[in-house]
């Protein structure tokens, strides 16, 4: 099992505790959003914006050693919670691991609706950008 898959499983177990309690699940997601470490203001540039139709995401990627480190922010708190999950799973891994990550946990924890193509949030584009940045930073 890869390290990324290990984290994915950990998150899946964490969300399984809520069972059918979607309110609890979303409250947890909102808490994750609130506790996401702040991105440096200098990284909140237009270049780093991933434009969703409604909420926006800022993503900064940099290489430290052979690992890629992501920091991010969003103006909507639920999107920010999703962003926090993605960072927890993908950040601080090698480009190869990031590119190969399947991210099936999003479906497993019942938050697949956030990957819908309604363009409402920038999450799908954010995952693409994380992988693209990993390719660029190899």
């Amino acid at each position: 099992m890869t390290e990324i898959l290990g984290i994915e499983n950990e998150i899946t177990e964490e969300f399984e505790l809520f069972g059918d309690d979607w309110e609890g699940k979303y409250e947890h997601l909102i808490d994750l959003g609130k506790s996401l470490p702040k991105i440096k203001e200098e990284y909140k540039t237009d270049e780093n914006i991933i434009q969703g139709c409604q909420s926006r995401v800022w993503l900064h990627s940099e290489k430290q050693g052979d690992k890629i480190i992501f920091t991010a922010d969003s103006d909507a708190i639920i999107t920010k919670g999703m962003v926090a999950l993605m960072i927890r799973v993908l950040s601080d891994h090698t480009a190869k691991e990031i590119i190969e990550a399947k991210l099936e946990f999003i479906d497993k924890i019942g938050l697949k609706e956030h990957l819908s193509p309604t363009r409402a949030n920038g999450l799908v584009s954010m995952i693409n950008r994380m992988k693209m940045d990993a390719v660029k930073l190899v």
């Binding site: 979607w22 979303y26 909102i30 708190i77 639920i78 999107t79 949030n121």
Partner: protein, 413 residues
């Protein structure tokens, strides 16, 4: 959801029974559909009419000699008469079928560009226009060194009509405004607009996408050059709408979308175009859409649009009063003169979050800029949460929405 007898104006329970989709459950909650400004649900009468057309009458209209073609043509042209009569138009040829409000605005702006608009001319819009009523004029302005001028907002978000006359110059040719703001629900004072337009000889275009579903529109009385609206916001199908033009324009406006059906005679040297509505209806039209549209209009007229307006105004006032009791809620364009639409935000939250969580309770609202980004910039917000009502909504649904909104606010705190 109708928990108690709420009104005697309309029999909402039996109306709701006509809309099969309303019995759906979303995330284990009964659907509360408050996104009627985007599109309304369709009564089974409309669905049945479309199904009946395809099962019994389907054929191409206008030039066929066979029975089906005659029946289809008759159904299509009867629909035109129904819609003309609904808007109190005696000459049904003034009702041109289009793909919807956006298409209508494009057809008319292209026609005006080729006839009366000159380089350097000026057009007046309002601050709360939908992008549809901005982009086509903006494209004209960019290509013709034209200028768009905008009626500003007052502090209460209604239009500052006192500023309008100062916008008018000898180069002003046209004023195009929404009858009802799709974002704020505010009703535009067309009398003020028309008085100034008449004085300065301006062409008047009314975007009725958000007024036609909610209030009586008497086009004879309104007496404007153009009026446009969409069927799908009036309980009809998508992809259908109308472009009404005054008798003068019906004769004068050049066609910019030629095609089969728009002609009298064609040779490789010259084409003579048909007269009346057909001149603007190229290709095979959306026949089932038009038939569905007329069925929707007949359905509404069973109750009467005035009664519907009265009922929906009650809903708006009820919801606004309830929203006013929640300290975290900011309502934009608060007024009693509204057509079934309320825009609001919850302090320190993003509309996306509010909309996402309300959906979990089965409540469908719209969030975002509502295709009115210039208005969002004026209000200094990234977007709003918009609730918009239709004939089938109830005060019980508003109560449920308010209860869940309060819960959402607690979750987001």
């Amino acid at each position: 959801m109708l928990l108690k007898e709420e009104t005697h104006i309309l029999d909402i329970e039996s109306i709701r029974a006509d809309f099969p989709i309303l019995s759906r459950r979303i995330n284990n909650y009964p659907l509360v559909y408050f996104d009627n400004g985007a599109t309304t649900q369709k009564p089974k009468q409309v669905v049945d009419a479309i199904s009946h057309y395809y099962s019994n009458t389907n054929s191409n209209i206008h030039r066929g000699v066979h029975t089906l073609s005659r029946e289809a043509t008759e159904a299509f042209e009867t629909a035109r008469k129904t819609i003309a009569s609904h808007f109190n138009i005696k000459n049904d040829q003034q009702i041109i079928f289009t793909a919807g409000t956006t298409d209508s605005l494009n057809i008319l702006s292209n026609g005006l560009t080729q006839s009366v608009l000159r380089p350097g001319d000026e057009i007046i819009l309002s601050s709360y226009e939908h992008h549809s009523n901005i982009l086509t004029w903006q494209l004209w302005a960019e290509r013709n060194s034209g200028k768009l001028k905008v009626i500003p907002l007052k502090d209460d978000h209604s239009l500052d009509y006192s500023a309008l006359e100062n916008l008018i110059t000898p180069k002003t040719k046209l004023i195009s405004v929404a009858h009802v703001s799709n974002t704020l629900g505010l009703i535009t004072d067309l009398d003020k607009i028309k008085t100034l337009a008449k004085k300065h000889n301006l062409i008047v275009v009314i975007d009725g996408a958000q007024s036609a579903p909610h209030m009586k529109v008497d086009l004879e009385k309104l007496d404007v050059d153009f009026f446009v609206c969409s069927a799908h916001k009036i309980y009809g199908p998508t992809g259908t709408g109308i472009l009404y033009m005054s008798d003068k324009w019906l004769k004068q406006l050049p066609t910019t979308k030629p095609g089969g059906g728009t002609i009298k005679t064609v040779t490789f040297e010259k084409t003579e175009y048909a007269e009346g509505a057909l001149r603007f209806e190229p290709g095979t039209p959306n026949i089932e859409g038009v038939i569905g549209f007329a069925t929707a209009i007949n359905y509404l007229n069973r109750f009467g649009i005035e009664k519907i307006h009265q009922y929906e105004t009650e809903l708006v006032n009820y919801a606004q009063d309830k929203l006013a009791e929640i300290p975290e809620v900011i309502v934009y364009g608060k007024s009693k003169e509204k057509a079934a639409v309320i825009s609001f935000n919850v302090k320190d939250t993003h509309p996306f979050d509010v909309g996402t969580l309300l959906d979990k309770y089965g409540i469908a609202v719209r969030t975002g800029h509502h295709c009115t980004q210039p208005l969002m910039n004026l209000l200094c917000v990234p977007g709003t949460v918009r609730i918009s009502f239709g004939i089938y909504n109830t005060k019980s649904e508003i109560d449920f929405f308010i209860e869940k909104l309060k819960k959402v606010i607690t979750m987001l705190k």
